[in-house]
Symmetry: C2
Subunit: 249 residues, 2 copies
DNA sequence: CGCTGAATTGACGGCTCTCAATGTCGGTGG
DNA sequence: CCACCGACATTGAGAGCCGTCAATTCAGCG
């Protein structure tokens, strides 16, 4: 049994075998296109970027050898890793054609990649806007991951409420007052928090005048502060932090 | 401005307008198929399941009114919410055709849905196995969410190592010994833990004889225990918990 | 009116973060 | 060859957030 180091390069690529054969052959049976694909193989040294957040998403990739780190940069400049990709793994699909990258990808070592430009897939794989919808879903998943990994209870609750408000707003409803259709239990389960923490946090937000809560009824009184809490705050607190909260008692 | 309650029913459905018009019309321009689609509109009362994990995934859905909760059931029987869906949202795409549902979906209130059977999309939206790949990616995202929301540091590290081992194994490498291509910083960033916590946890695992660590080199000595730690454990501990750990000092 | 389930509130303990110092490895220059 | 340096990793001490347990309140309902 060989020891995994992910760093050697196969000239006879077989990383796609577990998937049922070379992905390039599956997606691109046009010989001319396959030629393009072969030219699209590239090798990067450690620490180089495959793509960065915000760039145009014109392709996705398969790792031939080496390894890849996918990550986001949070508002405070810290990075949030979304996943690691080993030989045979597909990455870059979270942003489909005509979109901008919603994450960055960089090499962890010398890495060989197979590049699949979206434009060459147009005939066989154009899933109307289905792929766009799945990308939206992944966007959400990434946001959730980011919340769970980087935000404290205050940040998660604030983000959750702000997200709900935005989604209602985009549908023509009020962004300030709405009814929660889910229980505290569900919210806690979603945000990785105990029910009691959800309840306590909502109460504290109310005491600070950020919002008004009564059972399932929510009214957001101070969107700006709510959004400030939702952002990752380190020392920028003193807005509505736990230390205070008794100034209205 | 109307107050959002997500509970009223639009007979003239317009929830897809933000997306550029009725999704059914976009995907199914065959009148006969559109007829099928209309028949597929359904109303569910609060607490009813749209689908359950493990069922055949033969369709996805759009929320017309009401709201949906998507969730997983963890090994210890608790549920982990993955997301909430409001009118206009698409859900059920995380499992593509010919697959089994990898999550469950239930209504939070009386809810009206539009159902899109995969079989009717075959002509226009059959993205070869692209959708399957995106579903795999979502599967991973869900696993990450589940880790971040439900597992402590031990469980996350153990899950992380077990996942790496399995992925190397499936590629023909040793599942017991491998080199980490990512730094402690990256691991912590991925698992939502501080670097120090990652380091301390690895050291403790080594002290318990579960694995051998030296910088980037990892050798798993006791896969069973590692997997036991990776599973959510409440009182089933005493394997390698923090209380002990000094028995080899 | 009493029951049931959801929600709130309080006390306590533990896990993990932060801050800080030390140790280790690889590279660089004298 | 060796000293130095920077990046990465380990280890320790203290504090704080949040989960757990438990009691109470409240809304809905027969």
């Amino acid at each position: 049994m060989k020891i995994a180091s992910t760093s050697h390069i196969d000239h006879h690529c077989n990383v796609c075998e577990p998937r049922g054969g070379c992905l390039g052959m599956q997606l691109l049976d046009d010989p001319g296109v396959s030629k393009h694909l072969k030219q699209a193989k590239r090798i990067s040294r450690k620490g180089e970027h495959v793509f960065r957040e915000g760039e145009d998403a014109d392709a996705f990739y398969v790792v031939r050898s080496g390894s890849i780190k996918s990550y986001l940069v949070t508002e405070d400049g810290e990075e949030q890793v979304l996943g690691f990709y080993l030989p045979g793994d597909v990455f870059g699909l979270d942003s489909t054609e005509l979109q901008q990258r919603m994450s960055s990808a960089t090499t962890l070592e010398t890495t060989s990649l197979c590049r699949f430009p979206h434009v060459y897939l147009a005939d066989k794989a154009q899933g109307s806007n289905l792929l766009r919808i799945t990308a939206e879903q992944m966007q959400r998943d990434h946001n959730l991951v980011l919340m769970l990994a980087r935000k404290d209870a205050d940040g998660r609750i604030a983000s959750f409420l702000d997200d709900l408000a935005c989604r209602y707003w985009s549908r023509g409803y009020s962004a300030s007052a709405f009814l929660l259709s889910m229980s505290r239990q569900d919210i806690g389960c979603y945000l990785g928090l105990a029910v009691e923490t959800v309840s306590r946090t909502l109460t504290r937000f109310q005491e600070c005048g950020v919002l008004q809560v009564n059972r399932r009824e929510v009214e957001i009184l101070d969107h700006d502060t709510l959004r400030k809490i939702a952002g990752i705050r380190l020392d920028s607190a003193s807005d509505c932090s736990k230390a205070s909260g008794l100034n209205s008692a």
